[in-house]
């Protein structure tokens, strides 16, 4: 049993994901209360170089061909062995396509408590999690003995978890990784050919509030008038109303335009992750309590179907005159 705070370093195809640095920053806060060290846990094959700028007191590294890229089973088996041997005070995982696949398995396997969607830790070591699409926060004591925590971005800046000097690396042996039931076959690139919304400076983004496919035309008309580009939240893409290339958020693109006009978007954490750093966010949403107004600079609580056609007209007039 130690007071150390472990952080699972997430990486994909040779790049460390930003959430890893965010978690290192969070771990530093927590280590100050627990009195332990910040330990980065890195799994891979010939991946030592990925440790270069992790802000950790030390890196525990397991090297194995089956750990080269993330697969839930090989990573989970390796982490289970490590946690059992070392019993850290807490281990942080991204609430991501990597971390969330293994944290729950470890909780069940090792009978350890799990906290999800944590955004930050208080100075006395409590977890603060976001729930209900960002409408509610939940706070509690960090459970014992080893708390497994999945983290979402927003509470710490990635830069806080980066250092110039590489930390010390200590190797540990993974367990036997034979007869695995999950195997990576290949990565498939997103289809090219559409506009790259990450490069556009004026984005007109539509959410479920647009209500049906036909209404997308309203956004298209506004885009044509302004010279902007239409993008969307996940439900709009999942309904097939716009292609995946237009998706903004956790599973889509991260954008940082000069202006992000959010039409009928609630502002769920998974969406904000992709657009929260836009220069100016303008939100139109009939619900005055929608979390999107927590990140927007300007807002209007009107029905977008009333507003957008008028806005298009006014833009045309402004440009014409």
């Amino acid at each position: 049993m130690s007071q150390d705070i472990f952080v699972l370093v997430e990486h994909l195809r040779g790049g460390v994901a930003d959430i890893s640095f965010v978690m290192l920053a969070a771990a530093r806060t927590l280590a100050q209360t627990s009195g332990g060290h910040v330990v980065a846990v890195l799994l891979g094959k010939d991946a030592q170089k990925l440790a270069a700028n992790l802000a950790a007191d030390k890196v525990l590294y397991a090297d194995h061909a089956a750990l080269t890229e993330f697969t839930s089973e090989a990573w989970q088996l390796t982490l289970a062995k490590l946690i059992e041997e070392q019993s850290p005070r807490a281990m942080l995982f991204g609430h991501t396509t990597i971390g969330a696949d293994v944290a729950g398995v470890l909780s069940a396997k090792l009978s350890l408590p799990l906290v999800s969607s944590c955004v930050n830790f208080t100075s006395d070591g409590k977890f603060v999690s976001q729930t209900c699409g960002g409408k509610i926060m939940a706070e509690g004591e960090l459970p014992s003995p080893t708390a497994l925590v999945t983290m979402i971005p927003g509470g710490y800046k990635a830069e806080q978890g980066q250092v110039a000097q590489a930390p010390m690396i200590e190797s540990f042996a993974p367990p036997a990784l034979d007869n695995l039931r999950v195997a990576l076959k290949k990565y498939v690139e997103p289809e090219a050919g559409d506009v790259d919304i990450a490069k556009e400076s004026f984005l007109i983004s539509v959410g479920r509030g647009i209500q049906n496919k036909d209404n997308i035309e309203l956004a298209d008309e506004l885009a044509a008038a302004t010279g902007g580009t239409v993008c969307a939240s996940r439900p709009v893409v999942d309904q097939g109303w716009l292609p995946t290339s237009r998706l903004v958020g956790k599973s889509g693109k991260r954008v940082k335009p000069k202006i992000y006009l959010a039409l009928g978007i609630s502002g769920a954490p998974e969406h904000v992750e992709g657009m929260g750093e836009s220069d100016v966010i303008v939100a139109v949403n009939t619900d005055p309590n929608a979390p999107i107004f927590n990140v927007a600079k300007y807002g209007a609580t009107l029905d977008l179907l009333d507003l957008v056609p008028r806005l298009t007209e006014k833009v045309k007039q402004a440009k014409g005159g």
């Binding site: 799990l114 706070e139 309904q239």
Partner: protein
């Protein structure tokens, strides 16, 4: 192939949410509950697999208002068996407790493939998929947006940020957390649901007890206190449109 899809009701986020007198939980007395949207995708994916290669699809839900309708809707789409869990308050069940209850049921049903929604917006102790998988000794893969059956395994499409997809082989039996089906969830006419409700039976299963161990204990819930709230532009659509054009001009994007 036997496919099981457990579904969950969650608060509708379009409604106003409030915190109860304990200060540590949502006030459930006025909550409007809807099916977790990822469960609609999980049902769709199960039905697609059935249509392509044959399968028996079982849909499971804890009792509550509106649950029968949702179960009959699943049957109208093609689900074969409907199971309702009785005697447990779904609103207070955490993921660990739900995973244990479902693991017991699945030890009996013995599905080859369990499709859960990838997550629900109100879980605070992780989603049940990975817990369930471990309780059953099966592998888990989440964030799945496409499943193709092979012999004794499935090929899945797992989503990574930026639209990158990882194709993985997963040996059955397995649990998958569904993010999106390969096509939008289908629509069924009310008349069909109504018709199905007269022929398909909902099997009831009593839940013996709940073991919530492994979940987080919340001591306080509160609404977020943002550093800054948006400046709300009041007025008619005309007036708001005028002001927005002004903002676009100031920012130099027009």
């Amino acid at each position: 192939m036997k496919i099981a899809v457990p579904i969950k009701f969650v608060p509708d986020l379009v409604e106003e949410l409030s915190i109860d007198a304990s200060g540590a939980a949502l006030d459930t007395s006025w909550l409007r509950l809807i099916i977790n949207e990822f469960d609609d995708h999980a049902i769709e994916q199960a039905i697609l697999l059935k249509e392509r290669g044959g399968a028996e699809v079982t849909v499971i839900c804890a009792e509550g208002d509106g649950v029968d309708d949702i179960l009959f809707t699943a049957a109208a789409k093609g689900a074969d068996r409907l199971v309702k869990l009785t005697g447990a308050d779904a609103n207070t069940m955490n993921s660990h407790a739900a995973a244990r209850v479902l693991a017991d049921l699945f030890k009996e049903i013995q599905p080859d493939l369990i499709l859960t929604g990838v997550q629900a917006h109100n879980d605070l102790d992780g989603s049940i998929g990975p817990l369930l998988a471990e309780y059953l000794g099966m592998p888990y893969v989440g964030y799945v947006a496409g499943v193709t059956a092979a012999s004794g395994s499935v090929v899945i499409r797992k989503e990574y940020p930026g639209g990158i997809i990882a194709e993985m082989d997963v040996i059955l039996p397995a649990v998958l957390g569904i993010q999106a089906a390969e096509q939008p969830p289908r629509y069924v006419a009310y008349s069909k649901i109504n018709q199905v409700s007269k022929t398909v039976k909902i099997e009831e299963r009593a839940v013996a007890g709940l073991d919530s161990n492994g979940g987080a204990t919340v001591s306080r819930m509160f609404q977020p206190e943002p550093a800054q709230r948006a400046e709300i532009i009041d007025g008619s659509p005309e007036e708001v449109a005028d002001r927005m054009v002004g903002i676009f001009k100031e920012l130099g994007v027009l």
